[in-house]
Amino acid sequence: MAERPEDLNLPNAVITRIIKEALPDGVNISKEARSAISRAASVFVLYATSCANNFAMKGKRKTLNASDVLSAMEELEFQRFVTPLKEALEAYRREQKGKKEASEQKKKDKDKKTDSEEQG
C-alpha cells in the first residue's frame, strides 16, 4: 500500500484527548469520527504548510518560519487562530530561551569544575 502524506496520522490518543477536552462532559466520539478528525488534522497541516511555503517563496526564503505559518492561517480564513498562536509562539520562545540559558549555565558550571580540577 502506497504511503500517502495523509496517512501520516497524528497519535490517536492525543487527538482523542483534544476532542474530549473541547466537548462537554459525557459526550462521546465514534471511532470513525475520531479517525476522520485525525485525518482532517493531517490534511490541515499539509494544506497550511503548502500555503505557508508560498509565503516563504514570495519572501525568497527557503526556510519556513513562524510568520509564514501565521500568514497562511489568515489566508486560509483561520484568523481566529492567529492570536492564540501568537501567544503560544511567545511562550515557546521564552521556553526555548530558558532552555538555552539553562544549558549554557550547565556548560559554564562544567567548565568551572574542570578548571578547578586542573588547579587542584
Partner: protein, 116 residues
C-alpha cells in the same frame, strides 16, 4: 432509534496506519514543559511538513506553530461537528456530523473529498 455505537467488544482497536507504521520512533514528548505548550509530537508534524515536495526547510518555530494550529483545528472541527450531533439529540459524535460540519463551514471546504 438507530444503534449509536457498534462497540461490540472492540473497545480499543489500533488502526494499521495509526502511528507505528509511518515513523520508526515512538512520539515520546521530549520535555515536560514542551508537552504543556503542544500536545502533538513535533516529530510527527515535521514528517508531514517534509512530505510536501516543495518545502525545503522548516524552522522549529514553524513546526511548533503548525502543531498548535492543528490542535486548535481539531478543537474547532470537533465543536462544530458536535453542534450537528446536538441537533440530532445524540451524545456521540458520528462521522456524518463531521461531514455535515465540513459542508456547512466555509473554512473546512478544503477537506471535501479528502477524508474518504
Amino acid at each position: 432509534m438507530a444503534a449509536v455505537v457498534p462497540g461490540s467488544g472492540a473497545s480499543r482497536e489500533e488502526e494499521g496506519t495509526g502511528g507505528d507504521a509511518a515513523t520508526p520512533q515512538p512520539p515520546a514528548p521530549t520535555s515536560a514543559p514542551g508537552a504543556r505548550l503542544s500536545r502533538l509530537p513535533l516529530a510527527r508534524v515535521k514528517a508531514l511538513v517534509k512530505a510536501d515536495p516543495d518545502v525545503t526547510l522548516a524552522g522549529q518555530e514553524a513546526i511548533f506553530i503548525l502543531a498548535r494550529a492543528a490542535e486548535l483545528f481539531v478543537e474547532t472541527i470537533a465543536k462544530d461537528a458536535y453542534c450537528c450531533a446536538q441537533q440530532g439529540k445524540r451524545k456521540t459524535l458520528q462521522r456524518r456530523d463531521l461531514d455535515n460540519a465540513i459542508e456547512a463551514v466555509d473554512e473546512f471546504a478544503f477537506l471535501e473529498g479528502t477524508l474518504d
